[in-house]
Structures are given as structure tokens and as C-alpha cells.
């Protein structure tokens, strides 16, 4: 009870043995958690054969399993996020940092210099994806030398498919939508659109996670 009140003091032996040894057949909780961390190896007969140590080990294991869910449990009792707080964060992030490469756009007037950013093209691809039912578009890459007019560009898109949606069918509609939007808004030479469906989501969960 003496120095244990002061957190900055190292735990002394007296402190560490204060409560445990009598209850844990000469072992401390600290030793037992090290034993657990080491996967109970090498086996220690004096621990393995002690009923009180076994009870403590079970409690420790239970505590380890619970530690992950403790924060979640606490968070679920907190009031909802303040909207102005969320808005404050979004206001402070830099949108420019995602512009990427600059893509020249040809113009009938050779004196006019016109360009769009890679970020804008990715935004178009996302917008196309968001129009396709049953599918969510993730990351999008432009492979090829976009800075050279006319150079062939391959669009690679990650996507998540909604439960119950046909992958080939959704992929076809997505490819079509991406071609359509890029032809309308850019003069990129699209060599291909590669779609990787690497996730599944449940559209029925809509709104329920809010």
C-alpha cells in the first residue's frame, strides 16, 4: 500500500508479490501473462499443475479476448458524432493533394492550352460506377502515359459487388458506363477497362449501420 500509489515509481518486489504468491502458488499474474504470451512454452509444471494458476490463466485469456471489444462497447454508449465536428475535419483536408498527373486536352485553337487532372478522370470513373446498380467502385488507376496526347491508356478499377448481383453482368455495365463517360468528357485513348471485383457488400444493410 505504500509506493503503489505513485505511478512513476517502479513496481518494487514487495509491491509485485503483495497479493499474488499465496493465491497463485508462488507465481505472479505478471509471470502468468508472460507465460501466455509465450504460448505456454516451455511448459512449466508448477503453473500447469496449479488450479489457482489455471483459473488466473483462464481469466487472463478472457481479458485478452475482451480488450478488443471494450473500446467498441464504450463507443456504442457515446452520443453521436457532432455534425459540425465532422464538417470541420472535411473542411481542413486538402483536396488538391489528390490531383495527380496533368492530362493535356487538345483544342482546335493551337494557342489554347487546356488540361484536366488525373484526379478529375478518376472522379468521372467513380461517377460512372455510381450509376451502375449493384456495384461499388473503389480505387481507380490510369495506366499509360496520360501526359502524351493519344497515348493508349488502360483504366483499372477495383469494385465491390452487391449480394445477388451477377458479376459478369455488372462488370459489363460498368465497363460500358466508364467508356461512355470518358468518351463524352475526355479525349483519352482508352485501350481497355480492367475491372477487379475483390469485395462483396450487402446492399440490404443500407442505412442500418448508421
Amino acid at each position: 500500500m505504500n509506493d503503489s500509489q505513485n505511478d512513476s515509481e517502479p513496481a518494487t518486489d514487495a509491491d509485485r508479490t503483495r497479493r499474488d504468491p499465496a493465491e497463485l502458488d508462488g507465481h505472479t499474474l505478471d509471470e502468468l501473462s508472460d507465460y501466455l504470451d509465450a504460448g505456454r512454452a516451455p511448459a512449466d509444471a508448477s503453473i500447469d499443475s496449479s488450479p489457482s494458476c489455471q483459473i488466473a490463466l483462464t481469466s487472463l485469456e478472457r481479458l485478452y479476448r475482451l480488450s478488443d471489444t471494450l473500446l467498441e462497447a464504450q463507443a456504442s454508449t457515446e452520443p453521436d458524432l457532432d455534425e459540425s465536428w465532422v464538417a470541420g475535419i472535411l473542411h481542413n483536408i486538402s483536396r488538391d493533394s489528390r490531383a495527380g498527373r496533368t492530362i493535356p486536352v487538345t483544342h482546335p485553337d493551337p494557342a489554347a492550352e487546356l488540361a484536366i487532372t488525373e484526379g478529375t478522370v478518376r472522379g468521372l470513373v467513380r461517377a460512372a460506377g455510381d450509376m451502375v446498380e449493384g456495384l461499388l467502385v473503389g480505387r481507380c488507376r490510369l495506366d499509360g502515359d496520360v501526359t502524351t496526347p493519344g497515348a493508349p491508356i488502360t483504366i483499372s478499377v477495383d469494385a465491390s459487388i452487391g449480394w445477388g448481383t451477377s458479376i459478369p453482368d455488372a462488370a459489363d455495365r460498368l465497363r460500358e458506363a466508364i467508356y461512355g463517360i470518358l468518351i463524352r468528357h475526355t479525349d483519352l485513348t482508352i485501350a481497355g477497362v480492367d475491372i477487379t471485383v475483390d469485395d462483396v457488400h450487402n446492399p440490404a444493410a443500407k442505412g442500418s449501420s448508421r
Binding site: Q5, S33, L66, A73, L81, G88, G138
Partner: protein
Amino acid sequence: MGPQDQPIDLTVASDRILVGRAVDGDVRAFEALVRRYGLLIRVYAGRVLGSTADVDDVVQESLVQAWQHLPELMDPGAVKSWLMRIVSNKALDVLRRRREHGDITDHELRIPDDQIPTALVEKRSLEQALNAVLSDLPDQQRRCWVLREIGGYSYLEIGRNLDLPSSTVRGLIARARKNLIREMEGWR
């Protein structure tokens, strides 16, 4: 159902999809991540800091920094633990500044370990009971336990960040475990 009519619902999207979009510059996807993990990382920051002061600043700064460094995240599926690491590092920076300014009141004047009441609040679940115990632990004890068991920091890392010898960190964590286990066994 174009995006103009009704924005698509991103709450059903996986972390990987949201991270991918946010890396590409989709602010709405980042917003969905902020909403998904905002409360969790606030609670985490509070657990490390030990008071509600500075929590908002720490979490806001962390999220702004997260947006900036998101393209460097190798495994988009691990965004939750990545965010938590940013938040705890920021919280540790705040604690370091407090120490440098001689403001150490945050881990003194606390109830001695053995007198920590077993959760007096209404206990609806074991998790709530343990959270109540956690709230009552002396700051350094709770902080070390949380960084170790939830944040995955090593004894050495914790010691380095809190300017404590590893042996002290180890002792604090052992005591925190003891307090939590006592509550857990009482619960059974």
C-alpha cells in the same frame, strides 16, 4: 438513379473500397470512414489522454493527417488499426508536451489501486463493467494497459513514449490487469 438524383450509399462499402476511393480523392468516402471510426478513435484517444481535454484536437489532427497519408497505407483493409496508431501517437505527443510543461497533475491524486471500487455504475454488460473499472484506474495504469492490449505497443515503446523505464510499464500493466481481472471474476 444517377449520382445527381441521389448519392449512393457508402455506408455499406467495405473499408477497402472506402480507402480506395478516398485515396483517389473522394471526400465522401473519407467522410464515411470518419463516421465509421470517429467515435471509436475518440474513445481511444480519451483512454490514452485520461481526460476529455485535447481529445477533439488530437482526433481532428489525426484525421486530417490520415487523409494526407492515406495513399501510403499498404493494406487498405487495415485502415482501422492504422487510424488508431495515428491517434495514439498524437495523444502521446500531447502527453509529452504536457510533461515538458511540467503539467503532470493528470496521473496524481488518484485512488490507490486496492481501493478502486468495483464498478459502482449500473452494469448492463461485462464490457461496461470493465470500462467502468478502466475509467477509475490511475491514468498511467490505464494508459499503459490500453496502449499495450489495444494499441499493440511493446513495453519498450510505451516506456520510451511516456519516459518511463520498461520495468515500470510492466508493473503498471500488471496492476491494471489485476484490477480488471478482479472485476471480471466478481462478474462471473
